[in-house]
């Protein structure tokens, strides 16, 4: 009964007949041998070859095999540890392999408050990581000092190193950290999430796109135009999707 209901809701495609699979296998063998010609060759190429750019392919690879450094600073580290466990399972996003050396890692998760004495150590660890590298500031303390508004804690880790993603929370739940890692994956793919700029329709207000700081360089103007264009197409596709869903 249950299965029938499911089927009615989302009818499954008929699986290909075993003979079709066999035919395709033989055709692929012929292609590799160089025996395939004419429309058969065209069809085979059309079905089995995917074209992309090197940039995108590399980004796809990097985004789906992030190696975080094993690096805990404070209580946020407890939440960070649980993302590799079976309950949250960061392996679903290909980042389960925590490296014990910064030289093998490409993501530094600042999980906790950064004391002034720890800051140079963290900076050194970050400098030891090989490019390309990213950093997530996890929780209120490493993002802004949090509740530790005093002489001993750095008021925001981005004062001494670049940070790509800030995850809010005190501490953030593991889901929040995984969401941050997902956003980082989108960044690595070259399609960063506009975040609050989408809610406030504030595309083009990025620091690098703002002209108020002085004369904009041609590259900046180009990037600005590209960002606007990307945002517009994104919005258009979103609205089409919404309408399609409703219709």
């Amino acid at each position: 009964m249950k299965r029938e209901k499911l089927r009615a809701h989302a009818p499954l495609e008929e699986p290909p007949a075993p003979t079709d699979l066999r035919v395709r296998q033989l055709r692929a063998r012929d292609l590799l041998r160089g025996d395939l010609e004419g429309p058969e060759l065209e069809q085979q190429v059309e079905e089995s070859v995917l074209t992309t750019t090197m940039h995108k392919a590399v980004g796809w690879g990097r985004a789906n095999s992030i190696f975080p450094a094993t690096f805990g600073l404070a209580c946020c580290a407890i939440e960070m540890m649980s993302i590799v466990g079976p309950r949250y399972d960061i392996a679903r996003f290909g980042a389960e392999n925590l490296r014990a050396s910064p030289r093998q890692a490409d993501l530094l998760i600042l999980s906790g408050r950064v004391a002034v004495k720890m800051a140079p150590v963290i900076r050194r660890l970050y400098d030891q990581m090989l490019e390309p590298k990213w950093a997530i500031s996890m929780g209120a303390c490493s993002s802004s000092g949090g509740m530790f508004a005093n002489y001993a804690v750095v008021q925001g880790a981005d004062k001494f190193m670049p940070v790509d993603i800030h995850v809010p929370g005190c501490p953030p739940r593991p889901e929040a950290l995984i969401y941050g890692i997902n956003k980082l994956q989108r960044m690595i793919l070259g399609n960063p999430d506009p975040g609050w700029r989408r809610r406030y329709n504030a595309y083009g207000t990025e620091e690098w796109a703002r002209e108020a700081t002085g004369e904009a360089t041609p590259e900046e103007i180009e990037a600005y135009a590209a960002a606007r264009e990307r945002a517009a197409s994104h919005e258009a596709s979103r609205s089409v999707a919404t309408r399609g869903g409703r219709g």
């Binding site: 002034v116 004495k117 802004s144 000092g145 530790f148 508004a149 005093n150 002489y151 001993a152 008021q155």
Partner: protein, 191 residues
Amino acid sequence: MPDAPGLELIAQELNGAAEGSVLGTYHEHGQGCLIVNPERILDVLSWLRDTPGQEYHFLSSLHGVDYLPAEPRFGVVYELLNMPRAERLRLRAALADPGASASEPDRPRTRSGGGERLPEIDSCVSLFAGAEFPEREVYDFFGIVFRGHPDMRRILMPEEYVGWPQRRDFPVGGEPVIFTRNEPEMPRWFE
């Protein structure tokens, strides 16, 4: 824990052994405290440690206090323990701030690099070896120098740190946070 008369007896005997070493006593919440002349702190500590019948062999804690605006401003507190009798005795040495003299009003009182005049007291590392790290900590946070300490430098803060962060006139730190209630105090904060 010596009771109030016992504390007075200790004070009398100490003043007999080392003239002018105990300036006062008080006994509160079942805890006795001797207020000690900081110049005689080593005499007092060694007397309490070595005299038969006293034998406070263990220095369980040593810490600094800033009593600003009281005068004298700083205090160094020694918590002694006699383990066989399970008796504790507290000593407090009050130290004036030599940097607060009125002759140099322009000189900053904290966060000044060299040339700062700091309160000083004798180190008791020769009597209690375990006092080495607590004395460094007091120096680190209050800027109280222990004369004769084998390694007088900061212990918790970075060595190049400037200032004595646990002094009461040290700025708390952090960054101003804008709320609606204090926004008028910081006009144009967003620039």
